[in-house]
Amino acid sequence: MPAPLKLVLVTPEKTLIDQTVDALRFPLFDGQIGILPGRAPLLGRLGTGELEIEADGTKTSWFIDGGFAQMRGGVVSLLTNRAKPVSDLDPAQAKADLEVALSRPATTEEQLAARQREQDRARSVLALVNRR
């Protein structure tokens, strides 16, 4: 039986979660990753999307936006710029954000990339909200 898994979710402003969990799923830069107790050490870049936490038989889900994941010695640390419980997401706001991102002019490559990032972020928020 491996040691229990601990999750620490921090943003630059606050430590949002610091608890023992049974399992985790979150987006890395290229797709979802699932983590169970006893996983090998890992250092990765986070993507944008849903963080699913399973603890004591209940599931909670959060929206996270980029950052880093570190797994070391039974502790998963997620460092992200923004994190919100999915229940706090606002569908109207998400829609508005997507419209803004879609209508933004982009002429240089940097702007294009930034616009794409914003669209992706807005879409993943929308997807989460709509599933609820």
Partner: protein
């Protein structure tokens, strides 16, 4: 009763002032605690970042990133000055602004072109008075500085630096050392000197990580994140220091008011006594005159 009445008036005014400064002290104390909590919470993020950087450096990586590259010469730089929106906080703004002015003078001597950016009404009004052009000014960084707003600023600086539009970014602010010590400093944030501050040597060195995608790419992402966290820390430090300064200043003001109340009431009692004595003397004099 002329003199005594005047003293009573002043006494009332001073008592009112004491009430106000006492309240401001209490408010500053409460805000200081909140700001301090926020700063402590934020430290967790920086600590984690530093830990990851330390782990990365054990992976025998060469740290190279545009934000870390020192420039051979500094032609254009940005000086960001963090002051408060409100006054009555002792030497807080004066200290920061003195540092900023010194830095501006030094840059001018070295022939650098400095863009001045100021946050806080106090700083804005000083530079207006000095008739020094301010590139950008902000008044929306108040009590609870949101990370998103700071991130916006930091991203712009990082982009400007990478594109070569600026060669240096400096921040003048009140650095928080401890609850009893804050120092005004001018800190150079770009080019980034070191990543994530001091990294303590952990005993279990050499964890064999899976890097996703690769150590280099993570590094590429972590450098801007560390930079943003540092800028954010400057803002948090400034807020905490401001509240401490205000607390101390208001405590001093309250004590001074109390002292003054003591002196004034003594003066009032004396004036009243003198008046009574002289009135008595007049009455006795009058009686004596009638009898005589």
């Amino acid at each position: 009763m002329a003199k005594a009445r005047q003293i009573v008036k002043r006494l009332k005014a001073v008592k009112n002032i004491r009430k106000i400064t006492r309240t401001m002290e209490l408010i500053a104390t409460a805000r200081f605690k909140r700001a301090m909590d926020r700063a402590t919470e934020a430290a967790a993020y920086t600590r984690k970042l530093a830990e990851i950087v330390a782990d990365l450096s054990r992976a025998n990586l060469k740290f190279s990133h545009p934000l870390l590259d020192p420039r051979p010469e500094t032609k254009r730089s940005v000086l960001l000055v963090l002051t408060s929106n409100r006054g009555l906080c002792g030497g807080y703004n004066a200290g920061v602004l003195r540092q900023a002015t010194n830095q501006l003078a030094e840059s001018a001597r070295n022939g650098e072109e400095v863009e001045l950016e100021v946050s806080g009404k106090r700083g804005i009004s000083l530079f207006k008075f000095q008739k020094r052009p301010v590139e950008r000014s902000y008044t929306h960084f108040d009590d609870e500085v949101p990370f998103a707003a700071v991130e916006e600023l930091a991203s712009r600086y990082a982009a400007d630096f990478i594109a070569g539009r600026i060669d240096r970014l400096q921040v003048a602010y009140m650095q928080f050392k401890s609850a009893s010590k804050q120092v005004p400093v001018v800190e150079t944030l770009l080019p980034l000197g070191e990543l994530g501050g001091d990294v303590e040597a952990t005993a279990d060195a050499g964890v064999d990580y899976d890097f996703l995608p690769s150590a280099e790419e993570i590094l590429e992402e972590i450098v801007p994140a560390a930079f943003k966290a540092q800028v954010f820390k400057c803002f948090l430090d400034a807020t905490v220091s401001e509240h401490i300064s205000r607390m101390v200043a208001m405590k001093g003001a309250t004590e001074n008011a109390e002292e003054m109340i003591g002196i004034l009431s003594q003066q009032y009692n004396r004036a009243r006594q003198t008046q009574i004595t002289s009135e008595l003397a007049e009455i006795i004099g009058g009686v004596a005159a009638l009898e005589g």
